[in-house]
Symmetry: C2
Subunit: 457 residues, 2 copies
């Protein structure tokens, strides 16, 4: 008996998952640990304490507990903007004239404009629980910084955001949202940290990078009483919090008896992709089901498709631990003409291992093609997507078009991570026909790989 699928499936707030899912518990081969860059030995709880909140370190290091309860205060905050809708893209299907069924999980219906809020409130909560006064972080495109500002504004925590300078200048309104939520925003590199001053002295005209902003934020947290550093992607704790995306998706799909054939997510540091696929990949790891999983990254920052699987620094200033991941080298900075986020040199270690094991596939797309898909989607589905999310849209459209050619009635699920309301400079370039693509050369990448730290296997 098939029931009609509504345009938007909204779960009742009581159906929202009460636990995050920790996929590491279901991995037979556990992900490679973070290493101390000096000793090349696994980072201990104590070594991480000066930088991260205690409970978050526990979550980061926990490879065995499958379900972690969501504390009440976080759960109640979630209720303000979750459960997020699972949308059936009826209009897009009709436009493409495809036999495929397209669904997307929309995470943009909150002021931060993306899924980042799911982890921001969790990280802020644990910082407050520990009696801290504030947190520092970095932000590139601005979604994570906005999300953290919102969480801290709600919790009454101080928040200091180092924003990649190029983005700070191009997106004055992003900065203003963060200020409205009470955050202090500093363009990075800045002269307020040693890491920033070093980078500025070497590259006085740099527009900054995520890796560099991370170095500044970590240094500031270490040097400020009652502060810790928090990070919006890459880490396993973030993937844990973001599992709520996939868990809600699974509940909504089960309710309507829908099974996805392929699950598509954009990938920068991996927070959304990891959270979206987590429960589905968990089923696959336990031998209960099989899915196709596809990561979509920008051709200008192709960590999966052209990176190395190796230990590397998480930041440009080389003050952070080493993580085993697909990386373009911690000094890699995407070309200046690259719009939007997904500009991180590395990738979450768990996803990196899935990719290495062939469980996850990846593809890369040039930004002009991404924006073409974004505009098509905006006009027919009524949501102006973030450039990041539009990578997934583009791959989903490609898949639906293939289905039209082959006649396959695939069920496609993709993550629509957020909205593009603060990315209109990039849309302007696209609308004016002045947007260009750029793909790093093999030579550039080889030079970057040559600088990877030497870590014995």
């Amino acid at each position: 008996m098939t029931q009609e699928i509504p345009y938007k499936i909204y779960l009742h707030e009581n159906e929202m998952p009460k636990y995050w899912y920790n996929i590491r518990a279901d991995m037979k081969k556990k992900p490679a640990p973070l290493l101390n860059p000096a000793t090349h030995r696994p980072m201990t709880f104590e070594e991480l304490q000066p930088v991260f909140c205690d409970e978050l370190i526990r979550q980061e290091l926990d490879n065995t507990t499958p379900y972690i309860e969501i504390p009440d205060e976080i759960y109640n905050f979630y209720k303000m903007y979750r459960p997020s809708p699972l949308v059936r893209a009826y209009c897009l299907e009709k436009l493409l004239d495809t036999p495929a069924k397209i669904y997307y999980k929309f995470e943009g219906s909150n002021t931060s404009g993306s899924h980042k809020l799911n982890s921001a409130i969790a990280q802020g909560y644990y910082a407050k629980q520990q009696g801290l006064t504030g947190v520092t972080t970095e932000t590139g495109a601005g979604q994570w910084g906005t999300a953290l500002s919102m969480a801290c504004g709600y919790l009454g925590l101080k928040c200091h955001v180092f924003m990649v300078k190029g983005s700070y200048e191009l997106k004055p309104f992003r900065k203003e949202v963060m200020r409205t939520y009470g955050a202090e925003v500093t363009p990075s590199p800045s002269d307020t940290t040693e890491a920033g001053r070093k980078i500025l002295s070497e590259h006085p005209n740099t527009s900054g990078s995520l890796g560099c902003a991370i170095s500044e934020a970590v240094e500031t947290a270490e040097n400020t009483e009652g502060y810790r550093y928090v990070l919006g992607s890459v880490l396993n704790q973030v993937m844990l919090h973001q599992s709520i995306i996939g868990l809600e998706c699974k509940t909504a799909m089960d309710k309507y008896d829908i099974t996805p054939d392929i699950i598509i997510g954009c990938a920068g540091g991996g927070s959304n992709l990891g959270g979206l696929i987590a429960p589905f990949m968990g089923e696959q790891l336990r031998g209960e089901a099989e899915y196709e999983f596809l990561a979509v990254e920008p051709a200008s920052c192709p960590s999966f498709t052209r990176g190395r699987y190796a230990y590397d620094f998480c930041d440009t200033g080389k003050v952070c631990p080493l993580a085993k991941m697909y990386t373009l080298g911690c000094d890699f900075i995407p070309s200046g003409n690259h719009s939007g986020g997904l500009r991180y040199h590395g990738m979450n270690p768990v996803l990196s291992q899935f990719y290495d094991e062939g469980l996850l596939k990846a593809t890369s797309i040039e930004q002009t093609r991404v924006f073409k898909a974004a505009v098509t989607f905006a006009r027919i589905e009524g949501i102006l997507p973030a450039p990041e999310s539009s990578h997934a849209i583009c791959a989903a459209i490609d898949e639906a078009v293939r289905c039209k050619e082959t006649g396959e009635e695939k069920t496609i699920l993709f993550g629509l991570t957020g909205t593009g309301y603060f990315d209109l400079k990039a849309y302007e370039q696209f609308n004016n026909g002045t947007m260009t693509d750029s793909i790093p050369t093999d030579e550039e990448l080889e030079q970057s790989f040559a600088k990877l730290p030497k870590v014995e296997a």
Copy 2:
């Protein structure tokens, strides 16, 4: 038996109203008709035809049909972003420590960022049905222009938006969203119309006004083959389409056995306020229930609280019909330091009559107080509100604070019409402490009233 009220009440799409509600059918004394400015006689269907689409004229003139079916194509479009949530402001209540229960109907969960899309898709649909190629309109703050661009992008209609020049320059990203949806955007006054050229010759440095942009849009529609003019507020047809806000509200409240004591809405031209209160006021007109209704307007543009109830032009260029309404005079332009929308000189004629009859109350608030409420709300409820909507927030907070003093457990419902993502220049002023207030003097208003057209009662 009381059931627990969730944070957000989402109706299923099948529960969305299938009819718009035309409150004029329940008015014993019908609203005063639009008059031909030359003859001062009621505008006929034929006289309105060069400017408006046929079906919309029928809706404009229909004072007797209580329910008008929503066509399938509009209904399906609605499903992409409706039903909109009715939110219980638990966090705000807790912050205010009030015995009042606060609800808001949130219309900002779509890319246009406001309720305006409800009428934009309807007006676009009827234009397309009539075989037209395009529509023209004006926009001030930009929400209506964005909404119409989205509707036209979806329907494949051309769209020409005259955007108040001051707003065009302050909000480049608003313009870019419209362009992304395929619209042509012209800053007003422009040299492309006679009305624009006349205003420019008299006031070469003007930053424009809504009334002036209306004149340009009407002139362009009249002079372009296959085009008509559409308007986002003030008209009765708009209030009809916006009744979906109140109807959904009523359904959601009935489902959970909630009865509002007071219903609060911001008021510029009246589209949101009219739509929100329609079914509740309908009950009151039929003697079935009683509510308090409160309109909130900016102190810098106080049509209800300091205007005259008189026939006036709908536009500055004096090419539009005369409407009987609360008005500050069609030449009135709010002070340059006024942020956000709600800058129209007049008010919807039906609402004007309710106000005149004492069925509707009104209050006006200075913008610095409005933004203070906006920031409080943003931090505690997680939604950055539009400046327009924040007028209603401010009045709702005032009411909740009064309830704390008196101990009354009032149920407050207000309309949260939209988000402030494109109003960050104004937030920046507020955050920097440079925002100022301005209230027109009695003298200014008297001068403006002196120019009202002389129409015999």
